[in-house]
């Protein structure tokens, strides 16, 4: 087919569509979050002492961490998926969440006695955390991956990994309200491990499914 003929075919295929990729991505993140929330409320639910827990800075910090991860990773993702847009501030901005975590860990080590560090780190349900965060990430990750197939990431693996961060950020936010281990030492160890696992899955899936 000559290039001129291809152009003719493309022109015939033109349809009016005001839907931009940013809207598609935002819609996917929102739908993923809604599905994950529904699954969470139906199967897990918040912890029994949720009301009391709201008074605890450690409990609230888990949300600060997870929400900052969602926001920074989503901002980076929308830039990675669009050709010709540089990541700019957000190339490093996603480090905000881990940086907050480092500060919280330092504060925890400062205010608690050394004997309590190990039980705080090990917590009471590390295995549940490692299972439920990835499970709750499935729906958001699937929604975001579908949206990213509409995008054009020049580095598909990286975009997939960052999609994993957004998805596991959503999962971590939900799981944080269920889990009774609030120490930053626990969060830094097990939440990070679970999030890293989902990001790895995102990388593997992305490098195959997001080529265009």
């Amino acid at each position: 087919m000559r290039t001129e003929d291809l152009i003719k075919a493309l022109v015939v295929d033109l349809t009016v569509s005001k839907m931009r990729f940013q809207h598609i991505l935002l819609g996917a993140i929102t739908s993923g979050a809604i599905i994950a929330t529904a699954v969470f409320l139906l199967r897990l639910g918040v912890r029994p002492d949720f009301g009391h827990a709201l008074d605890s800075a450690r409990f609230l910090f888990k949300f600060v961490f997870a929400l900052s991860l969602i926001i920074a990773a989503a901002a980076l993702l929308s830039r990675l998926a669009i050709p010709g847009v540089s990541a700019g501030f957000w190339a490093w901005g996603w480090l905000l969440a881990p940086a907050l975590l480092v500060v919280a860990v330092a504060a925890e080590l400062f205010v608690t006695p050394a004997e309590s560090w190990q039980p705080r780190l090990v917590g009471s349900n590390a295995r549940v955390c490692l299972t439920l965060i990835p499970l709750l990430s499935i729906a958001p990750l699937a929604c975001i991956m579908l949206a990213l197939r509409q995008g054009a990431p020049t580095r598909p693996g990286l975009a997939g990994a960052v999609a994993g961060l957004v998805a596991s950020g959503i999962a971590a936010t939900l799981y944080a309200s269920h889990c009774t281990d609030d120490s930053p030492l626990f969060v830094a160890t097990w939440y990070s491990l679970a999030i890293g696992l989902v990001a790895l899955v995102g990388y593997v899936v992305g490098s195959r499914a997001l080529r265009w």
Partner: protein, 185 residues
């Protein structure tokens, strides 16, 4: 036409196209193609691909621009968006040939200052990919492109509804892009 002028014109035409103006879209693609061809030839020569393969790259870039046009943010300049797509497709072409070294790719500024190349050399039939489509898809694509029939005429001839022709054409275009990528989906 200076760099600014060309970019602004492309952006203007593309904005009109997004709102459904197909003659603006046709102008946009026709005006962009010689610039893409220059950049593709220059870079293909550098990495040891011939001009026929350069034309493949041009077609692949046009397909990507078409299928990914909703990723262009209408408030941003269009040049970097086009160039990034082109660079990506050149890197793919190089990878298919198994060439590893990093590929320096000309700026948009370079293409626009280059003289337009004659396209008489590009009349080779690039039918090999269309040939891999299903028979019905081939028929449809040929009818709408090379034979220049309208959707209505094509629908009548192939005994399909106009909607079905549109859907089938879109699928065929996506299939062509996938074939260019090397058959993966």
């Amino acid at each position: 036409m200076g760099l600014r002028g060309a970019e602004e014109e492309w952006a203007l035409l593309m904005r009109a196209a997004i709102n459904g103006d197909s003659s603006a879209y046709s102008l946009f693609l026709a005006s962009l193609t010689p610039a893409l061809r220059t950049v593709a030839r220059r870079n293909c020569a550098r990495i040891g691909l011939d001009s026929c393969e350069a034309e493949d790259v041009v077609q692949e870039v046009l397909l990507a621009i078409h299928l990914k046009r909703h990723t262009w943010d209408v408030d941003r300049p269009i040049g970097p968006w086009i160039m990034t797509i082109a660079r990506n497709k050149l890197i793919d072409a190089r990878r298919r040939r198994g060439n590893r070294p990093t590929l320096p790719i000309d700026d948009l500024a370079d293409i626009l200052t280059a003289e337009g190349t004659d396209d008489t050399l590009d009349r080779q039939d690039l039918d090999h990919l269309v040939g891999k489509l299903g028979e019905r898809q081939q028929d449809l694509v040929r009818s709408l492109s090379m034979e220049g029939h309208s959707i209505q005429e094509t629908a009548k001839r192939l005994n399909m509804s106009e909607g079905a022709v549109r859907v089938a054409l879109h699928r065929a275009i996506k299939a062509l892009a996938a074939l260019y990528r090397g058959g993966d989906q």
